[in-house]
Amino acid sequence: MSLTLGALEEIILLLVLKQKESYGAELVRLYKDQLHKEITLPAVVVVLKRLEKKGFLKSYVGEPTEERGGRRKIMYEATKSGYQVIEEAMEAKNTIWQMVPKLS
């Protein structure tokens, strides 16, 4: 399995890092707030599972709440390697971005 990040994986991982810990429903909401686009929940869940498999996220069982119909949520938290891989990716992008001639 490739240990690089796809575009959506990157966003989701960043959002998890921003929240310190998060879960599917919250990420759908955050995605909409930040990127002003709708995303379906299964798309998010698929990415979360993939990131977990790659070892960039770890999950644990969270508390059940009223609005979830009493179901427990699965919380996700970034691992150390998760933090590192996103740091590298962002740095690389930033370096290139600095070199791009500015339009205005």
């Binding site: 299964p42 609005e67 979830r68 179901r71």
Partner: protein, 892 residues
Amino acid sequence: MTNGKTPRLGSWLLKLLCRKEYLDEVKGDLEENFYWRTKEVGLRKARIRYYLDVFSTVRLTKVNLSSYNGFTRSMFLSFIKSSFRNFRRQWTYTFLNIFGLALGMAAALFILEYVSDELNYNKPSDADRIYRVSNDYYRFKKMIYESSMTFSGVGPAMQRDLADVEKYARLFSASTGWGGAMILTRPDQPSVNFKEHKLFFADPGLIDLFDIPMLHGANELDQLNTILLTPEMAVKYFGDVTDAIGQTLRYNDNATEYELKVAGIFERPDYNLQVDFNVLISYSTRAQSDPERFENDWGGNAFITFVKLRQGANPSGIEEAMDELTLKYKPGYLEKNESGEYNRINRYFLTNIQDIHLNSKYQNEVGTIGNATSVNLLQVIAVFIVVVAWINFINLTTAKSIDRAREVGVRKVLGARRKELVLQFFTEAFLINLFALVFAVGIVLLGQGQFNGFTEKDLGLESIQMDSFVVPGVMIFILGTILSGLYPALILSSHQAVLTLKGKYRKQSGISLRRGLIVFQLLFSSLLIMATLAINRQLNYMNDQEMGFDMDQVLIFRGPAIRDVTNEAHIPSIRTFKERVLSIANVKSVGTSSVIPGIGILRGIVLVKQKTQNGDDMKSIERVVVDNGFHRTLGMNFIAGEGFDESIRGFAPIVLNEAAMLELGFQDAQEALGQTIYEFGQEERVIVGILENYHHESLNRKIDPMYFVRNEAFDTFYVIRLANAQTASAIKAIGNLYSEIFPGNPAEYYFLDSFFNNQYKRDEVNSKVFSSFALMAIVVACLGLYGLSSFSTVQRTKEIGIRKVLGAKVHSIYYLLSREIILLAVLGFLLAAPIANYGINRWLEGFAYHIDVKPWLFLLPFALVLVVTLLAVSQKIISTALTNPVKSLRYE
């Protein structure tokens, strides 16, 4: 549903789709999202989003089957795997199956394309309340004419006087019915001029009625001197679509000339137009010069009139109301005879515009006309071809069942339940059908060009109509797959394990069904071949028939439209043209006339024996205006007297054809010759010749009574007979002469024989369509027979070996094995012949002159089917019969 509760159906779907270990998590997340979305965007939108989420849970499905119901999944995979193994092991049989099915489906797809296109005429959004007004005319209880076009006053009067009529639109063309020519010219570049055949004067409402999309400019048909073009026309005259707007075009026909402003560019709608037009000129342009004739006339039937009724209006009520309207606007029609009946009657009919294309009965119909019967027949054929293909499949599979009995036995011993066996065979059937469908689409894509070539349509898979065919098509496909899969599956899975493993299983299952199905296949194939043969014979008959005149090497030039003088004064130019044409080498003779053979006849002119005002004696006979040279040029024969000649002077001569002579009540030609009769009841005409009947129209019509009067000024058509040699140079010389003597008129010519034979075009297309589908059907049937016979022969290899050892000859074995199939073919023929006989006779009734139905018309197809069937079954039988018995008996 209370706030915050997710839809029940959704959670059920979720359970079905989602992987089990994620189910709780996803369900919770979804419920939470649903909760805040309800608050944010409202319940309705939240629910839509929720369903979107649920459906996209498909992406979490993958592993679901294995963990949720491991048994089902692996079983399913095993079905697919063993299906493929089986396909590979018996690839010829599988190939036969797939190929046969694919061919059948491809034929059905082609037919659906064709039928969809035929049904897709005149379908604007309000089509169901738009009607075409036609009328007939009775005088003294005799029908004078039936016309698809009506009078100019009808449309406006209907809108004015009838509350249920919302809108009307008329189309008028100088060329409809009587061969006038319409020419458009660019005034700034007079060399840019063309004859236009799809040009109409149109009321502004037409654009709305037919939902015609305007690309540029606007529908300014409500103004004087405006013209609308299609993009192709704009390019033709101005080189570019956008440049055309605001430009000027000049219109000419035999009578009028207008300068027109290009106001807009319209596109043809996405359905087919029954009356196709590519140039529209505002109707008021034409009407202004002669408002009496073009706005309020009730005598000249030259106006295609469409009306749009209000919602819920009853067309037959309108037809009745029209009777009153006639009397209001045609006071002359109030006149009654002694018994109180009207002397003259017009009746009006409303035809829904969608029905015109396939269900028209009018001789003077403008536009393309199809045939409802052949469209219906083709749909039936489509279904039958697919059924034949499925029958193959069922036959082959059930026949194979013995072969697979052992496999079934082993499976059963190993614990397979019946349900699972059925499912397995069903999976195979489904896969084969699926492959066949893919192949069929491939065949259609490859063969499309060819098919479009002979149907002369521009078709593709996308022409198949969504709503009326795709849904039933898919349903038939699924049903067929289920039925064709289910029966073999049931047969195959019914074998008893112990018997099959002992090797004692020899029971032939489903034999009578199989025989029945073969009979049906052969019946259907013979039917198609008989029909094809009959159509072909009739077409040949019509082409070979003595027409009564000689149409070979006759060139037709349309008369000029642009002239600077009136009819009488242009005679000198016509004379000059004819004289100079005659001086060209290879030209034998030349003549002019108002109509030529192949142009439809609308009887309506009056001729009487005695001078009279009383309508009872009047006969309606077609009138043709010709010059001295016409009859000679076409090589027509006279029974008595002569044609028109220079020497006939001092009185008005007339020529009748035989039919007209009899209609007028003359006993024989000699009696009629020299008699004086009266045209229009008043004008004296002396009979100088009786013409032998000739076929003025196609052979599906009886010969109409016609008469000919002489007038040099009518040069609607020039008929020119050429000698056989160097046609091309003669045509070129005539063309040059034409441009010189009639400047500004594009020279347009064609050969009379090809023009005349155009009338048979529809029948020719039909013949090609039928013969190609007959071919496909018989190929499909043969594939099945080949597979079946080779299989049943292999079954009897051992028996044949023993027979040979005991001294049987090859031919007796051949007879033994092919006897059954011959019997079935005979049975199929016996059933097919009466059906074909009935159908062919019905079809031939549509032709006034037709072939007789003779026995060989059925026996020949039967012989063909028999030969092809025997060929299909023989190869395997003979090769088995020739096998050395040692080989077939060695094992065991």
